[in-house]
Each structure stands twice: as C-alpha cells, then as structure tokens.
C-alpha cells in the first residue's frame, strides 16, 4: 500500500523568506507521479506542482520548486519569496499508477508572517 508522510504539522515563515516543506512516501512502484496541492481557508484544493518519477529534473513553477529524491522516496516543496497568500494547508500526494488514484499526506499548515 502507498503511504505519504508529512512530518511537519505546522510551519511558519517570514514574508519574502524561503521555506521548505517535507514529504516522504512509500511505494514499490517504479513509475508514478507526485503532487503538491494547496488548500487555503476556502478549502478548495489547488494544484501547485507535479513531478513525474521518471524525470530526474526537479519540477519548478514560478516561486515553487521541488527536491525529488527518488532513491530516498523524498519529495520536498520549496517556496521562495513567500507571500501572505501562500498561507494555507499544503498536501503532498502520490498518484497510483494505472488507476491514477491520489493518496494524500496529512498536510502541513503553513503560515506566512508579515
């Protein structure tokens, strides 16, 4: 079974600073996808970034980038130049191959401090 672990229930960062959110996962699959979703107070799930396991290059999306370490089964999210609007719950998710079902971690609540 796939498990996704986010070991930081809460984090805070000063506005304009950089923060890294951790995620590890467990799977026996070789090909899969990893995602970070953001959930603001409105509770909508917003896709932040995705990574294909077969790509060695780390994905980037503007201020968001990942550090994907396949051997270590680690998938951390780095947010640069943090903004107040980044305050949200952040969920790491693993996509099961073939059926494409998402398995989520328990989330990290990020607060950006002005």
């Amino acid at each position: 079974a796939q498990t996704v672990t986010q070991s930081q229930p809460e984090m805070s960062v000063q506005e304009a600073e950089t923060v890294t959110l951790s995620c590890t996962y467990d799977t026996s699959e070789n090909n899969y996808y990893l995602f970070w979703y953001k959930q603001p107070p409105s509770r909508q799930m917003i896709l932040v970034i995705r990574q294909e396991a077969y790509k060695q290059q780390n994905a980037t999306e503007n201020r968001f980038s990942v550090n994907f370490q396949k051997a270590a089964k680690s998938f951390s999210l780095k947010i640069s130049d943090s903004q107040l609007g980044d305050t949200a719950m952040y969920f790491c998710a693993f996509m099961k191959p073939l059926t494409n079902n998402l398995f989520f971690g328990t989330g990290t609540r990020l607060t950006v401090i002005p």
Partner: protein, 114 residues
C-alpha cells in the same frame, strides 16, 4: 480557464436521509473521482470512474454510496442513508486522460449530517 464545479457548496441533512452531491467535470475530461476530507484530517480517495463505470473504489465506498454520470455532463455521488460520520468535505476531481496525469479539483461540498 475551465473549472470543475460542484453543487451545492453546503448541505445539511438529517441522519438517515439520502443526499446527492453534484459535480460538473471539465469538458472533455475522461476520468472522474470523488474524495472526502473529514474536518482536520487528510483527503481520502473514495471512487474513480471511467467509461461509465467504476474503475476503483476504496473501503470507505460501501453499499451506501453510488456514483452516476446520468447525462454526459454531471457526475453525482449519492449517499443513500447518511450517518453522522459522513459529515465531511466532498471533492470531485477530473483528469483529461491525455497522459497529463493531473487531477483538477472542484471547490467541494461541505456536508453536515445531524
């Protein structure tokens, strides 16, 4: 930009009543999903749907639950006899099925069972 929509945004019901949660996936998407998130907990997979049939379902998705795509546009989740523990946020998601392997989530329906 196309979005997944869900109605209603909030629903309150009495225990034992039937509820139908509605979703309109992004047009031309082929894969559809329901997830739920009990308050304060992680998002959990319920069911996936493709080609007018269930692809996979979780242990949560018991006989009280059913899904349907009645008209090629809507995608519904029915709970036949609601229980208190069904209170949660229910998210619909869709995937284009073009190899993008990305699920786009709707804003969710907050269900409260009294």
């Amino acid at each position: 930009e196309p979005e997944v929509t869900q109605t209603p945004s909030h629903q309150v019901t009495q225990m034992g009543q039937e509820v139908i949660l509605r979703c309109v996936p992004i047009s031309n998407h082929l894969y559809f999903y329901w997830y739920r998130q009990i308050l304060g907990q992680k998002v959990e997979f319920l069911v996936s749907f493709y080609n007018n049939e269930i692809s996979e379902k979780s242990e949560i998705f018991d006989d009280q639950f059913s899904v349907e795509r009645p008209d090629g546009s809507n995608f519904t989740l029915k709970i036949r006899s609601t229980k208190l523990e069904d209170s949660a946020m229910y998210f619909c998601a869709s995937d284009p099925g073009t190899g993008e392997e990305t699920q786009y989530f709707g804003p969710g329906t907050r269900l409260l069972v009294l």
